[in-house]
């Protein structure tokens, strides 16, 4: 699964993008966040304030209880500040 990070989430994780193997027990976005936090300190720091993280599945906004389904790309980022 391809994972992308933006803004300070990207800075904390330390990479823009990565491909990871997700265990079969990971069904939802929340499960995925839980898994990512176990990878290393950077990921743990990035997801420390879970409420501040927004998620897109295949470029659509979703809530963290969303099923990953067959999504190819998951993106994590802070609340948006465009405009």
């Amino acid at each position: 699964m391809n994972i992308r990070y933006f803004a300070w989430v990207r800075e904390r994780v330390g990479v823009e993008e990565e491909t990871i193997e997700v265990p079969g027990t990971v069904k939802t976005v929340a499960d995925l966040i839980g898994h990512l936090k176990t990878l290393d300190e950077n990921h743990a720091a990035a997801f420390e304030e879970e409420d501040a993280i927004r998620v897109a599945l295949d470029q659509f906004h979703v809530e963290t209880d969303a099923d990953l389904g067959n999504a190819k790309e998951v993106a994590f980022f802070p609340p948006m500040t465009g405009g």
Binding site: A7, M80, G82, G83
Partner: protein
Amino acid sequence: MSVTPTVRVQAKDFDPQAEADLLTAGRRNVGALVNFTGLCRDESGTLEALELEHYPGMAEAELIRIAGEAVGRWPLTGLTLIHRFGKIPPGEQIVLVIAASSHRRAAFEAADFLMDYLKTRAPFWKKEHLVSGSKGSWVEAKSEDDADADRWSIG
């Protein structure tokens, strides 16, 4: 006849008048144009530039979705949405929304709605570069922006 919004995500600057002209050229049913231009402020001289990061692909897709919502909600004759990314110094333009309609209320409401939605849903993030040379920080989302966007929720 359905309206196809013009949506662009680009690094380069844009020309609001040229965009407005495209929405009125050869038409005689446009009674109202509301044009919102968002510019980079210097924050009392402390800001050297804003760096706008975006999610390529999703930024365009989300702007198209937001524009489509506006077209479905108001009787518009045309709609243009342009958002820049990259480093933008104070005084330069960041975002453009133009809503054209036969009637002013529709044009005003659509432009207002688009800016509110764009602020909370379009995947762009601003980082400040300070005149002092220090790195600055990511601009925090404002709760007012969420409140503004909520004004448009349907029951």
